[in-house]
């Protein structure tokens, strides 16, 4: 009995924080791409920093940064990022890379969006035909991008009927639902390529400038939250804009397709 108790207390008080640990909030779409599995070991090898990823939506990532619960964030929603810097939560915004969004739907493409002129046109067709559409509905970067496009179509998602499903799920969850419902959905390319439950879904439309997806890195301000690990956050930023990162990011492929384009500019 005593041995058992002793063992329990050892379990309880086991120290599990490294001095070189930092917390980085990233979006689900970035994590689902699998790029993190390439970058994190390289970061640890080059700098000794162990990056702990918190995989959340952009909305929650911003909140985590504002509350000082993470040391930096890597997100893709420019308006929210600018607000984050303006309210003093972040020191600055540094563009790192971009990938793109793709419009998915049933292989048979009942609404006929495959040959649309632009993303806005494709959305208009879907709304016009009232084809089933799954929306993330979770304030994530992807969701915000989707809403931006709707704003340009002249339609208001608030007026949509039941063909428009705001599911309030992460990218993977939303893709699972779209796959089960044979619905149209906006996804980032990486999540789509890594998704294993594609079912009848197929990539129907991509390539519009409008669908580009800029990832930025924002360290949390040490002036606002004195406990954040700003040194590590700065070190990580230096690594993320280095040539080594550039090579790893540009070379990352899934099924022969490059996913990200490195576009950080030296200071």
């Amino acid at each position: 009995m005593r041995i058992l108790l002793g063992a329990l207390f050892t379990l309880l008080f086991m120290v599990n924080a490294w001095a070189q640990d930092m917390k980085l909030a990233v979006t689900t779409s970035f994590h689902n791409s699998g790029l993190a599995d390439i970058l994190l070991p390289a970061i640890e090898a080059d700098t000794g920093i162990r990056v702990q990823l918190l995989v959340v939506g952009t909305g929650q990532a911003i909140r985590l940064g504002q509350a000082g619960d993470v040391d930096a964030i890597l997100v893709h929603s420019r308006t929210a990022e600018n607000a984050f810097v303006e309210d003093g939560s972040g020191t600055h915004r540094r563009e790192i890379m971009y990938n793109d969004f793709v419009l998915l739907g049933p292989q048979s493409d009942p609404a006929g969006i495959a040959n649309s002129q632009s993303a806005v046109c494709a959305f208009q067709v879907i709304a016009g035909k009232k084809a089933t559409f799954v929306s993330r509905g979770d304030e994530s970067g992807t969701h915000k991008k989707e809403l931006n496009i709707w704003a340009l179509t002249g339609y208001n998602p608030a007026d949509f009927e039941s063909w428009y499903r705001a599911v309030g799920a992460g990218m993977g969850g939303a893709l699972n639902i779209a796959s089960a419902m044979n619905a149209y959905i906006l996804s980032d390319r990486a999540s789509w390529l890594n998704f294993k439950n594609k079912g009848e879904l197929a990539l129907l439309f991509s390539g519009d400038q409008m669908l580009f997806n800029q990832y930025s890195y924002l360290p949390v301000s040490p002036d606002k939250h004195s406990h954040v690990n700003h040194n590590l956050a700065v070190q990580l930023e230096e690594w993320l804009v280095s040539d080594r990162a550039k090579q790893l990011i540009n070379d990352y492929q899934i099924e022969g397709e490059a996913l990200f384009v490195f576009n950080a500019v030296p200071e």
Binding site: L12, D69, G172, G173, K196, H227
Partner: protein
């Protein structure tokens, strides 16, 4: 159906290979839940015994509250713990958010009412047996509580096991307060949620089978432990 079969096969392959990631998250699941069960039991069992032996004024209110808390949605517990432990929350300075400790705290809150409630039920029955004798022997309140807990230890172990079962399978709260960080706070349930999100049902199911196996093994171990105990047998 093929998914389930594939999941089983996948689980076996990972177990046979002692996949290091699998070992890590399984161990963390076990460690977090066991710690939570021990802490919750240390509080809940004496509380249950006290509620049985002592007729204080707020007794009924406490029992009603315990029963109500049993149905507490874990997600809400998670959210509240999250807000309390956040850097901008009242306990933020401790830096506990997104650590196993935060997960333990959330689980303790979730299972404490459950363990206390089940323990209270069985101790009440025992107390009706023991009441006359213990009063006659002029026992102190402390002696009564100790006697009830010792003689009711089998039933109390069952209560703790119920707590273990609820905690090990819990995902909502620990996802929020733990953050599902790889190599830090990822446990079986949050890993299952993650893999489901990626559409990798085979891996998610494999993890699910490991989770079930873990729960069953703990039950068997406890059962075996109480069977081998002969001293003071009833």
């Amino acid at each position: 159906m093929t998914d389930i079969w594939e999941g089983l096969l996948h689980a076996f392959r990972m177990l046979l290979a002692l996949d290091p990631d699998l070992v890590e998250i399984t161990f963390l699941s076990f460690r977090v839940t066991l710690t939570a069960v021990v802490i919750a039991s240390v509080i809940a069992l004496p509380l249950a015994a006290l509620l049985v032996v002592r007729r204080f004024r707020a007794r009924r209110a406490v029992i009603a509250i315990l029963n109500a808390l049993m149905g507490l949605p874990p997600v809400v517990v998670g959210l509240i713990v999250y807000i309390l432990l956040s850097r901008s929350g009242p306990f933020g300075v401790m830096g506990l958010l997104f650590t196993p400790t935060a997960m333990i705290i959330a689980q303790v809150i979730i299972i404490l009412p459950l363990i206390a409630s089940i323990a209270h039920q069985s101790l009440r029955e025992l107390w009706s047996d023991y009441h006359d004798l213990l009063i006659s022997l002029n026992t102190t309140q402390r002696q009564r509580i100790v006697t009830l807990i010792w003689d009711g230890r089998r039933a109390l172990l069952t209560a703790a096991l119920a707590g273990f079962g609820r905690a090990i399978g819990e995902v909502g709260a620990i996802m929020i307060v733990g953050g599902n960080i790889d190599h830090a706070t990822r446990v079986l349930t949050t890993a299952i949620a993650l893999e489901t999100g990626k559409g990798d049902f085979a891996l998610a199911l494999a993890l699910g089978f490991v989770l079930i196996a873990l729960a069953i093994m703990v039950n068997i171990a406890i059962h075996w432990l109480t069977r081998t105990e002969t001293e003071g047998r009833w």
